[in-house]
């Protein structure tokens, strides 16, 4: 895996930037709510100083709101931290459900994201030796395209099943693309090939299947070697 770091080229960087932009937007919203709530508390204090009656319920709901937003902020930072560390090791053995859980959390920060259901499989964990960062990028882009087209009312069901002894299959049901739009495009195809992943989309059933080798074993012409 001497050339593994070459996988993290511009396409990967673009994905990293896009996710960080959506996280920063989420954090800014959290800060904006805390700021307005603190402002309201300041308004109430000023009223009290002026001898005007204030509703104690407004104080309670304001402090509750600040606590809720701080928790939301911490939760967002936790996901940001998970995502940041996903580039630490180019290839490692991971539970695919962990990757899907992180990606689901990440795209919930998109303003146009719809609902996603992550279905946990039965039996053994879906362990694969792969590049989690690139796999995240592929799944994320599929979801972004779906919600950009179908809007926040759309719903996606995500699951993992064993296709055969050497392959896990991640299924995204409800993937909806515009007429004439393709998935994967050249950029995603390059990324998928680099980690031995194959992608197929059935427009009739709105199902996207992502085949992930249990062990990354080959890459030809994309900078990585098995």
């Amino acid at each position: 895996m001497d050339n593994a770091k070459d996988w993290f080229g511009y396409d990967s960087l673009a994905f990293f930037g896009k996710v960080n932009a959506s996280i920063s937007h989420e954090l800014k919203n959290v800060m904006a709510i805390i700021s307005e709530t603190a402002g309201l508390l300041g308004d109430l204090s000023e009223m009290a100083r002026g001898g005007k009656p204030i509703d104690p319920e407004m104080l309670t709901s304001s402090t509750d709101s600040i606590v809720e937003e701080i928790q939301r902020g911490f939760s967002t930072i936790r996901q940001m931290n998970r995502f940041a560390h996903s580039v630490d090791t180019p290839v490692l053995s991971v539970d695919l459900m962990d990757i899907l859980d992180l990606v689901r959390n990440l795209f919930e920060y998109l303003s146009f994201a719809g609902k996603t259901n992550l279905h946990t499989g039965e039996g053994t964990a879906a362990m694969a030796q792969t590049c989690p960062f690139i796999l995240q990028a592929i799944i994320y882009q599929a979801v972004v395209q779906t919600f950009q087209h179908a809007g926040p009312g759309a719903q996606l069901d995500i699951s993992v099943q064993s296709k055969n002894e050497s392959t896990w299959q991640i299924l995204l049901d409800g993937v909806s693309l515009k007429d004439g739009e393709v998935f994967p495009d050249d950029r995603i195809t390059r990324m998928a090939l680099s980690i031995g992943v194959s992608i197929s989309y059935d427009r009739g059933s709105d199902r996207l299947a992502i085949d992930v080798p249990v062990s990354i074993g080959f890459v030809k012409g994309n900078g990585a070697a098995g």
């Binding site: 800014k28 904006a32 700021s35 309201l40 005007k52 407004m58």
Partner: protein
């Protein structure tokens, strides 16, 4: 002054409406562009619309065009959590009244007053 406040961040919009109410400004809150548009289509009238630029569905810039078609007198200000003012204006020529989040309430009030031709400032709390 009657204000329409549209932001998909519900708590933010509600807090802001409460703060405006304390200053004697009535703000009706909508959590989507679609609901705001529906309200004006049903005959509700507002002096100023304060619109979040980035919302699911109809965003603030598109919403402004639709609202303006229904009510030519309505004035507009925009809320955004993205980037700098320069970045934003580079992407849109619609943002003549740009209010970055987190907001300063005095700046918002001054903007509202300017838009409706009222006195500058005047952000004291009524209680």
């Amino acid at each position: 002054m009657k204000v329409m406040l549209v932001d998909d961040e519900q708590k933010f919009a509600q807090m802001l409406a409460k703060r405006l109410a304390l200053r004697g400004i009535q703000a009706d809150v909508y959590f989507s562009g679609e609901k705001a548009l529906e309200s004006v289509q049903q005959g509700n009238r507002f002096d100023v619309a304060v619109l979040d630029v980035k919302m699911p569905g109809i965003g603030g810039i598109e919403l402004k065009r639709s609202l303006q078609a229904l009510d030519e007198q309505m004035k507009f200000a925009f809320l955004t959590g993205h980037g700098s003012k320069m970045d934003y204006e580079a992407g849109s020529h619609e943002a003549e009244n740009y209010l970055p989040k987190p907001l300063q309430i005095d700046v918002l009030i001054e903007t509202l007053n300017r838009l409706v031709g009222g006195p500058p400032g005047a952000s004291d709390i009524d209680g």
